[in-house]
C-alpha cells in the first residue's frame, strides 16, 4: 500500500502538469486534494545554503524538519549551531528549552504561510498568491512560482521547486538579492515524537515582561 508521504509526493508531481494539461486540471486537483487529506505528517532532513549579497561565502546549515500539514512546521537546525524555529499558521516562533516564543506574526501572506503551503502541497493557497509555471526535463519536474501578491512580491522575486518522485529542492530568490537553496532528503511520514507534538500543539509563551 502506498504510504501517505508517497501519496503526497505523487500528488505534488501531478501538480506539475496542471499548466500543460489545462483541460484536465479539475481532475488532477481533485486527486491532489484527496491524497493530501489522507496524509497529515511529513518529516525529513534539509541542507540549506543561504547566499546573502553582503557576505562573501554562503551560510550553510543542515538539520531536520517536521511538518503537520496546513498547520505547522518545526525547522530544526543542527549544524553548525543548534537552533530551532516553529511555524504555526502565520506565526513564527523561536524555541528555547522546548518552549516556543513568538518571533514574528504575519498580518498578510508572508514567508510562514508560503513555506507551509509549499511543504503541504497546498496548491489552492499557492495559486492565490503565485503565478505557477511547470516543466519536466529528463524526468525531473520543476515548478516556478512568481508572486502576484503585492506583499509577497516585496519578499520574493521567484521560487523554484524541483523534484522527481518526491520534492528534492526549493530555491528562494529574494528581492534584496538573498538566495536560499534548500535540499530535502529522507522524507517520510514517521509519527511525531512527544517533543514535536508538544511544539506543534501547545500555546506559545508570552514574551517576558521585564523592563529592558
Amino acid at each position: 500500500m502506498m504510504t501517505n508521504i508517497q501519496k503526497w509526493l505523487v500528488s505534488l508531481t501531478l501538480l506539475t502538469s496542471f499548466n500543460i494539461t489545462q483541460a484536465a486540471e479539475p481532475v488532477i486537483w481533485q486527486s491532489v486534494m484527496q491524497s493530501l487529506s489522507e496524509s497529515d505528517i511529513a518529516q525529513g532532513h534539509f541542507k540549506q545554503s543561504k547566499h546573502l549579497k553582503i557576505l562573501k561565502k554562503p551560510i550553510i546549515s543542515s538539520g531536520d524538519f517536521a511538518l503537520l500539514r496546513d498547520h505547522g512546521l518545526i525547522w530544526n537546525t543542527l549544524k553548525p549551531l543548534d537552533s530551532s524555529i516553529v511555524i504555526i499558521d502565520n506565526r513564527i516562533y523561536q524555541v528555547r528549552e522546548n518552549k516556543k516564543y513568538l518571533l514574528v506574526e504575519e498580518k498578510r501572506q508572508g514567508i510562514a504561510s508560503t513555506l507551509l503551503s509549499i511543504l503541504s502541497g497546498n496548491l489552492a493557497a499557492l495559486k492565490q498568491s503565485f503565478e505557477i509555471e511547470s516543466s519536466i526535463t529528463n524526468g525531473e519536474w520543476s515548478l516556478q512560482l512568481n508572486p502576484k501578491d503585492e506583499a509577497l512580491s516585496r519578499i520574493f522575486k521567484l521560487l523554484v521547486l524541483k523534484g522527481e518522485k518526491q520534492l528534492t529542492s526549493a530555491r528562494l530568490f529574494e528581492t534584496q538579492g538573498t538566495q536560499t537553496y534548500i535540499e530535502f532528503s529522507q522524507i517520510s511520514n514517521k509519527p511525531f515524537n512527544v517533543q514535536q507534538k508538544m511544539l506543534l500543539s501547545e500555546p506559545a509563551l508570552p514574551s517576558k515582561q521585564l523592563g529592558p
Binding site: I54, S61, S83, I85, E150, A151, E174, L210
Partner: protein, 758 residues
C-alpha cells in the same frame, strides 16, 4: 446743532472706529476657528496647559496625505507630482514614516536589549542567545536580515522591534505602501510652512483637485487628513454664512422699510444705524481681546436684530398724530438698560466667546441708542400718516387678540402660562435633555470627515482622543517615571483592556540600563560561541565590537531627531522647565482601568480635550441657566420699579413662556438641547423685554405694534436664516431664536390687550 452737522460728526467717529478695528486686526488680533478653543484648558494645571498649547500649535499645522492609484508606480508618480506642487506650502518630512529603518539604525547600537535577551545575557546563557540569533539568520525569506547584518549581526535591533511590537501591541512595519480596495496608497506627511493657513489650504485643495482630475485614468485617490483642512472648511463656512445670510437679511429688511415707510431717508438712517452698531461692536472687541473666535461674528449678527428695533420704534412713533417724545425716549432708554444689564451678566460668564459676544452687543446697542436719540431725532421730522401697508399689517396682527379680548380668556391664558412655566422648570432639571459633547457642534463637512475616516482606516491609526501625559523636570526622571507606566500598560494589553499604546519614552532604557546592556553585549562578543557564529559570517570580533560601541548613550533627543516632524516627534513635549511624554492609546475597551492608572505611580494625567471640554461646557451650561434666572429676576425688579409688580410678573412670565416654546421646538427639531439654545434664550429675553417695555409704555398701541412687528420680522429674517447653518451650534441658536420670536410675537401683545384691558 443741526442734523447735517450731527450726522457728519457721527460718520467721522464711526470712520475712526473703523480705522482702529482695521489697525488692531492687522497688528495684534488673531482670528480663531477651532471650536475646541471656544473653551480654555481650565481643566488642567497651568504647566500642563502650556505644554498642551505647544502640542496643539504644532498639531494644527500637520498635514498628512494618502496618495492612491492602481499601481505602485503610478502612485509614486502622482505622489511626486503632488509633492512638487505643494512644496511652496508644505515642508514635507524627509521621508514617509519609516519606523523599521529608524529602529534598525538606533537599536543596534548595543544600548538596547529586549527583556528576555537581557535575562539570557545576565545568566550567561550565551549559547542560547547565539542559537536564537542563528535561527533568525537562517530563517528562509527573512528579508530584514539582509538590511540588518552589516550594522547589527546579532540582530539586537530586530529583536528589540519584535519586543516592542509584542508588548506595545503595535505593528511597527508601517513603512510599506498600503494596498486596499484595489489601490496602492503611499503616505506623504509634513507641516504647513509659515503663512496664512486658510490661503495655504485653499491652494493645496485646488492642487489636489487638479492632480486627482489629471490622473483620473490611473484611479488617483488623494485622501486628506489634518486639523488645518477642517478649520479652514469651518472658517470658510462661517464666512460664507455670515456674508450670505447677512446679505439676504439686509435685502429683506431694506424691502420692508421701503414698503412700510415709503421714503429712502428712514432706510438710509436704519442701514447707517445698524452699520454703526456693528462697527462700534467690532472696534470694542478688537480693542479688548487679543484673539477673537469666528463664532463671535456669527452670534453677533443678532445685533442687527436688536439695533434696528430702535430706529423702527422711532419711525413708527413719527407715524400718525404727534405723541409726547419724552415717553418714547423713556421707553427707548428702558429698553437699552434692560438689554445692557442682561449682556453685562453674560460678560461675567467664564467663556471667552460669551464675553466677546456680550461686549460686542453692549457697545453695539449703545451706539444704536445714541444714533437714534441724538442723530435721527435731530432731523426736523414731520408727523406723517401711517402707510396703507402699515395699517394693513397692524389690522391682521390685531385679529387674534380681538378674539382673546372678546372671549375673555384671561384666566385660561394665565393658567396656560403658569402650566408651561411649571413644565419648563421641571424639565430643565433633567440632565438628559442636554448634550454637551462639543464634537456635536463641529461643522459637519461630511466629505472631509469621510476622508479622515478612510485615512484612519487605511493607515490603521485608530488612536483614542484621550491620552496619558507624564511630566517630569528632566529626561532621566521622566524615563524612570514612565518605566512604571509601561509595566502597567503592558499588563493592560495582556488583560485586553487596551489594544496598544505608543510612547517615545517606552523605546528608551535609562542611562544606567543602557550602560549595563552595552557591557553585557561586549561580554557576549568575547565568548567562544559568539566568535564561532561571527566566523561563519567572516566577521572579525574587533570589528563587531566596534559596531556595538557607538555613542555612549542614546537620549530622547537622539530618537526624536530621527522621527518625522509631523509624526511621533510630537509625542514628546519640551517645556521651559519640564518635559512631558504623551502616551497614545488604541482601542480602549475599559476606560475605568485607564482612569485607575492615573491614581497610581507615576500619576499620569488623562487628557481628553473633547471630553474634558464637553464636561466644562456642561458646567458652563448650568451656570448660564442660573445666569438666565438671574437676568429674569433683575428684569422683574427693574420692571416693577418702572411699572408695577403685577405687570412685571406677567411680563416675565410671558418671556419665560417664549423661552419654553423655543427650547421645546429646538428639542423637537434636533432631538437634544445644547448650550447654544440657552444663548438663544438670552436673546429672547433681551427682545421680549424690549417689546414688553414698549407695550407697557403709554405710547400709541398701533405704533408700538407696528414697530414690534417690523422688528420681529427683521429678527426672524436674520435668525431664521441662521437655522439653516451647516454649523450645528449656529443652527441651534438660529432655530431657538426663531421659534422664541414667533412666541414673542404671539404672546407679548397680550400684556396690553388682554392683561391690562381688564
Amino acid at each position: 446743532m443741526n442734523f447735517t452737522l450731527r450726522i457728519s460728526i457721527w460718520v467721522l467717529v464711526i470712520s475712526l472706529l473703523c480705522a482702529v478695528s482695521a489697525w488692531r486686526f492687522s497688528e495684534d488680533v488673531s482670528l480663531q476657528a477651532d471650536i475646541l478653543s471656544v473653551i480654555p484648558n481650565t481643566a488642567y494645571p497651568q504647566k500642563v496647559t502650556q505644554l498642551l498649547d505647544q502640542k496643539n500649535n504644532s498639531l494644527q499645522r500637520n498635514i498628512a496625505l494618502l496618495v492612491g492609484a492602481s499601481s505602485e508606480q503610478e502612485s509614486t508618480v502622482i505622489g511626486n507630482v503632488l509633492k512638487k506642487k505643494l512644496t511652496p506650502f508644505i515642508k514635507f518630512d524627509s521621508k514617509p514614516l519609516n519606523t523599521n529603518e529608524t529602529l534598525l539604525m538606533f537599536f543596534s547600537s548595543g544600548h538596547f536589549l529586549a527583556p528576555e535577551q537581557h535575562e539570557q545575557l545576565l545568566a550567561e546563557q550565551n549559547t542560547a542567545f547565539i542559537s536564537d540569533t542563528y535561527g533568525v539568520l537562517t530563517m528562509p525569506g527573512n528579508h530584514l536580515v539582509e538590511q540588518a547584518i552589516t550594522t547589527d549581526p546579532l540582530f539586537i535591533g530586530l529583536n528589540y522591534m519584535r519586543y516592542m511590537s509584542q508588548t506595545m501591541g503595535l505593528n511597527l512595519s508601517s513603512t510599506q505602501n498600503i494596498k486596499t480596495n484595489g489601490l496602492i496608497y503611499q503616505s506623504l506627511s509634513g507641516t504647513l510652512k509659515a503663512g496664512d493657513t486658510v490661503d495655504q489650504i485653499t491652494q493645496i485643495n485646488t492642487f489636489i483637485n487638479k492632480v486627482t482630475k489629471q490622473y483620473k485614468h490611473q484611479n488617483a485617490d488623494i485622501i486628506r487628513s489634518g486639523f488645518a483642512f477642517h478649520s479652514t472648511a469651518a472658517e470658510q463656512q462661517a464666512k460664507y454664512e455670515v456674508s450670505s445670510y447677512g446679505l439676504a437679511a439686509l435685502i429683506g429688511i431694506i424691502l420692508m422699510v421701503m414698503v412700510v415707510f415709503r421714503s429712502p431717508l428712514p432706510l438710509f438712517l436704519s442701514v447707517l444705524g445698524v452699520s454703526s452698531s456693528i462697527l462700534t461692536g467690532l472696534a470694542a472687541i478688537a480693542c479688548l481681546f487679543e484673539e477673537i473666535h469666528i463664532l463671535t461674528f456669527v452670534f453677533a449678527v443678532s445685533l442687527v436684530g436688536i439695533s434696528i428695533d430702535y430706529t423702527f420704534h422711532f419711525f413708527a412713533h413719527r407715524s400718525g398724530p404727534k405723541e409726547n417724545s419724552s415717553l418714547f425716549h423713556k421707553a427707548l432708554s428702558a429698553s437699552l438698560i434692560t438689554s445692557v444689564l442682561g449682556y453685562s451678566l453674560l460678560a461675567m460668564a467664564p467663556l471667552p466667546l460669551l464675553k466677546q459676544v456680550a461686549v460686542f452687543m453692549i457697545f453695539g446697542l449703545l451706539s444704536a441708542y445714541l444714533f437714534t436719540r441724538y442723530v435721527i431725532n435731530a432731523h426736523p421730522w414731520r408727523q406723517e400718516r401711517m402707510s396703507d401697508v402699515a395699517s394693513w399689517l397692524i389690522t391682521i396682527y390685531h385679529l387674534p387678540f380681538r378674539f382673546l379680548i372678546i372671549t375673555k380668556t384671561r384666566l385660561l391664558f394665565l393658567s396656560l402660562v403658569l402650566l408651561t412655566l411649571s413644565l419648563l422648570v421641571l424639565t430643565l432639571q433633567s440632565e438628559n435633555l442636554f448634550k454637551d459633547d462639543i464634537r456635536l457642534l463641529i461643522t459637519p463637512s461630511e466629505a472631509l470627515f469621510e476622508e479622515e475616516k478612510n485615512f484612519r482606516q487605511i493607515t490603521q491609526s485608530q488612536w483614542e482622543s484621550g491620552f496619558l501625559l507624564v511630566t517630569a523636570p528632566n529626561e532621566q526622571q521622566l524615563l524612570k517615571k514612565t518605566h512604571f507606566l509601561d509595566q502597567q500598560l503592558k499588563a493592560a494589553i495582556q488583560n485586553q483592556q487596551i489594544n496598544a499604546y505608543l510612547a517615545l519614552t517606552s523605546w528608551l532604557p535609562d542611562t544606567h540600563q543602557q550602560h549595563e546592556n552595552q557591557k553585557l553585549i561586549h561580554k557576549l562578543l568575547a565568548s567562544g560561541v559568539a566568535q564561532e557564529y561571527l566566523s561563519l559570517l567572516d566577521y572579525k570580533p574587533e570589528a563587531t565590537r566596534f559596531l556595538y560601541s557607538g555613542k555612549q548613550t542614546v537620549s530622547l533627543a537622539d530618537i526624536t531627531q530621527q522621527l518625522p516632524v509631523s509624526g511621533a516627534q510630537q509625542l514628546l513635549l519640551n517645556g521651559s522647565d519640564n518635559i512631558a511624554a504623551i502616551y497614545l492609546l488604541q482601542k480602549v475597551s475599559d476606560w475605568s482601568s485607564v482612569k485607575k492608572l492615573t491614581t497610581q505611580q507615576p500619576y499620569p494625567l488623562l487628557i481628553d480635550k473633547p471630553n474634558d471640554i464637553s464636561s466644562v461646557l456642561g458646567e458652563i451650561r448650568s451656570s448660564v441657566l442660573l445666569l438666565l434666572s438671574g437676568i429674569l429676576i433683575l428684569a422683574l425688579c427693574y420692571l416693577s420699579w418702572m411699572f408695577n409688580f403685577k405687570d412685571a410678573l406677567y411680563a416675565i412670565a410671558l418671556v419665560a413662556l417664549a423661552i419654553a416654546v423655543s427650547l421645546f421646538s429646538s428639542f423637537l427639531w434636533m432631538g437634544y438641547l445644547n448650550i447654544f439654545n440657552l444663548f438663544a434664550a438670552l436673546l429672547i429675553i433681551a427682545l421680549g423685554l424690549d417689546y414688553i417695555i414698549f407695550y407697557l409704555s403709554p405710547l400709541s398701541g398701533d405704533r408700538v405694534r407696528l414697530a414690534i412687528l417690523l422688528s420681529s420680522i427683521s429678527t426672524l429674517l436674520a435668525f431664521g436664516l441662521l437655522s439653516f447653518s451647516a454649523t450645528p451650534a449656529v443652527a441651534s441658536f438660529g432655530s431657538g431664536v426663531m421659534s422664541g420670536i414667533v412666541a414673542l410675537i404671539l404672546f407679548t401683545p397680550t400684556i396690553r390687550f388682554l392683561w391690562r384691558s381688564q
